[in-house]
């Protein structure tokens, strides 16, 4: 699979050179609570899963916005709320000033073609009973788009765009590898010439060798067609490679958001520190470890019953009484760059350099290290 792809057709909007920085997507106070039903003989609501709990974010035109966090922190729910696969419990999603948070299918129709989605699992996101041509042409058929030269010609162009052979038109998904399937998924998302693509962990189901190809493809698409991306992932390295701005989510809330370099080089929130420290790094022999080392203990608390105040306090080494009482607002801290917001009462130093003492919260890991330290 070659990586040099030719973008035969860029949308007119991008070609016209739209003013960069125009706000495309504005999300404010977005909340999604799933009811937990239980009881016998009559089912009633016994609780709520607070999957997403009041998040604000802005995606500008032609920008790639990364959303990272642990499994179960609400990243995917956020993506599905923005594409309106789910209806928000509260808060608003507005696309170019139009509130789409509770729009019906008919009202959404004009916006549908502009917001598309790339899915996580390339094995379940393609209908096994449809040909590639039908899969990619389907969105055009639904939206009644008749490109010049016919839909089939357009589908062949799209296949070429994503680096597949246009002659694969009549094949079925089971004849393709995971990476090729994901390319088909990308072609389907591009079929409507969208301006915003929500990519829900688009590469996490792929082999590492294929991940790079698909990420490069997405990056090429993003740059050359001027499509804005909301890139949801748990792989910090890929988000760093792909996104200009990054938000870190923890248990349904955004804890830190800012420019890529600012987040990766000068994080302030303890959770961001912990996440960055957990990324494995190759150390050459004799090389001094220069990054800080933080090992958290336990799991993310249940979103059915999240901790009061700051949600990270149960796993935070700096937690104080204030954290349990008062929820920290997402604000720009003193000394932080423009647009770098952090939700923490006791932020860390803006560096990822090694500390005097490692923070090892995990008792098992701490005990192990005690043993290995003893002979020295």
């Amino acid at each position: 699979m070659s990586n040099d792809i030719s973008l035969s057709k860029a949308p007119a909007a991008a070609a016209a050179g739209e003013p960069a920085g125009e706000t495309l997507l504005q999300v404010s106070g977005l909340t999604k609570h799933f009811p937990v039903m239980g009881g016998f003989p009559f089912k009633r609501q016994v609780g709520t899963v607070q999957a997403v709990d009041g998040i604000d974010l802005t995606v500008r035109a032609a920008e790639s916005f990364g959303l990272v966090g642990e499994s179960g922190c609400g990243k995917s729910t956020t993506g599905r709320l923005i594409t309106r696969l789910l209806e928000p419990t509260a808060g608003t999603v507005s696309y170019r000033g139009q509130d789409i948070s509770h729009a019906t299918r008919k009202e959404l129709a004009p916006v549908r073609s502009e917001i598309q989605m790339i899915f996580q699992d390339p094995y379940s996101s393609l209908n096994p009973r449809q040909t590639v041509g039908t899969i990619i042409g389907g969105p055009m058929e639904i939206n009644g788009i008749n490109p010049p030269g016919g839909r089939e010609k357009r589908v062949r162009e799209l296949l070429e765009t994503v680096g597949l052979n246009p002659e694969h038109f009549n094949r079925f998904p089971h004849e393709f590898s995971g990476g090729q399937r994901q390319r088909i998924g990308v072609a389907r998302a591009l079929a409507l010439e969208p301006r915003l693509i929500v990519a829900d962990e688009p590469v996490s189901a792929l082999d590492v060798s294929i991940q790079a190809q698909v990420v490069n493809l997405l990056q090429q698409v993003q740059r050359e067609m001027g499509i804005a991306f909301l890139f949801i992932a748990h792989d910090l390295a890929i988000v760093r490679h792909f996104s200009q701005r990054v938000a870190v989510m923890y248990l349904g809330k955004i804890v830190e958001v800012g420019d890529r370099d600012s987040i990766y080089q000068r994080p302030r929130h303890p959770y961001t520190h912990a996440l960055l420290s957990a990324v494995p790094e190759v150390e050459l022999e004799g090389e001094e470890r220069e990054r800080e080392r933080i090992r958290l203990a336990g799991d993310v608390p249940s979103p059915i019953n999240p901790p009061s105040g700051c949600r990270f306090r149960t796993r935070c080494w700096k937690a104080a009484d204030k954290c349990a009482v008062e929820e920290p607002p997402l604000i720009r801290l003193a000394g932080a760059e423009e647009g770098h917001l952090t939700a923490c009462h006791f932020p860390e130093e803006p560096t990822i350099a090694a500390r005097d003492e490692d923070i090892v919260m995990d008792p098992a890991l701490a005990a192990l290290e005690d043993v290995s330290d003893r002979p020295q």
Partner: protein, 342 residues
């Protein structure tokens, strides 16, 4: 053409290779994938049991459809009382004089005792009646199950709850007993007990009662399939592009449900044939003079001590038909889902 391209590529079925090659080299090189349906067909063709069973089942259907033609060529009909009209065929006790139930070059499968009708035409017309009813029930049941199963699975919530409870309720009925008890009631609703019940009404009643207690299994199966399918991301992908629910059901769900529908209905049809035969055997199905497969067993049961041969042909035909149809159903399932088999 096939040799020049990749091995996984096959030409469009039924299209001569020369025309594609001659027309345009670019068109000739076009890669055509094999659809899951085509793969299924290839696997099925390789299964010798399945192919033979399909031929046997096909033979039965051909016989049923062509019964009047066959009877005409054969020169007899299932209603004439040959044994009573012509002396020398039945003895004083009403049994065939000739050995083996009166089998001869003229009456291939013998003569029916007492009434003296021709067994061969009775059998082919009986197969025609029974298969026709079973086919009608299968179609009615499949359509109902598709409608209810998919709506329950796709809509969920209250619809799912009510369809589910109705399914539970009907599944709790003992089917055979219910048929026996209800058949007279259903006919009595339309015809006063003093009048003669017309045959078409009996047929409709037979189809109705079997349909009423037949759809639950397939419906429940389809509901489960839809529940698992609708969580798949390709449904979400269709929704993101703005597809309506109707389109999602028709274009995304239904093609994925063809396998269970086809397999289940193939396995269902022979059970309806036996159920219909059972009802006729018990006397609540079709009555004289309509030829019926099941009633031949009833008559055979009365006279088997004196004329065993009468039971022979309907019995063998029924056994072959049921075994072949079940083997066919198994082969269809194996062909669609090679992982589930062996």
């Amino acid at each position: 053409m096939t040799s020049s391209t990749e091995t996984t590529v096959s030409g469009p079925p039924g299209e001569p290779d020369e025309t594609t090659t001659a027309a345009d080299p670019a068109v000739a090189a076009e890669l055509v994938g094999r659809s899951p349906g085509q793969l299924m067909w290839l696997r099925f063709k390789r299964d010798r049991t399945g192919v033979i069973s399909a031929y046997v089942v096909g033979f039965f259907f051909v016989v049923a459809i062509l019964a009047p033609v066959i009877a005409k060529l054969y020169g007899k009909d299932p209603y004439t009382l040959y044994g009573q009209n012509e002396p020398g065929l039945l003895n004083d006790f009403g049994y065939p004089i000739a050995p083996n139930g009166g089998m001869s070059g003229r009456f291939w499968f013998g003569i029916e005792p007492n009434l003296g009708r021709d067994v061969f035409t009775q059998l082919i017309y009986g197969i025609r009646t029974s298969l026709g009813i079973a086919l009608a029930v299968t179609i009615a049941v499949t359509v109902t199950a598709i409608l209810l199963g998919i709506s329950a699975g796709y809509l969920g919530g209250r619809v799912d709850y009510f369809v589910g409870r109705i399914t539970d309720l009907l599944m709790a009925f003992p089917a055979q007993l219910f048929f026996v008890a209800v058949m007279p009631v259903v006919t009595a609703v339309f015809v006063s007990p003093v009048d003669e019940t017309p045959t078409y009404l009996r047929v409709v009643a037979l189809i109705t009662v079997q349909w009423f207690l037949g759809w639950m299994g397939l419906s429940r199966l389809l509901r489960g399939q839809v529940l698992s399918l609708r969580e798949r991301e390709f449904i979400e992908a269709a929704r993101v592009t703005g597809a309506s629910s109707w389109r999602i059901v028709r274009r995304e769900l239904l093609p994925n449900l063809v396998t269970p529908i086809l397999v289940q209905s193939t396995l269902m049809l022979p059970t309806f044939v036996t159920a219909e035969a059972g009802l006729s055997f018990l006397g609540v199905g079709l009555v004289e003079p309509t030829p019926d497969w099941g009633r031949m067993f009833a008559i055979g049961g009365e006279i088997y001590q004196n004329d065993l041969t009468y039971m022979f042909f309907p019995g063998i035909a029924m056994v072959i038909f049921i075994v072949a149809f079940n083997l066919l159903g198994d082969s269809v399932r194996d062909a669609f889902d090679p992982k589930a088999a062996r």
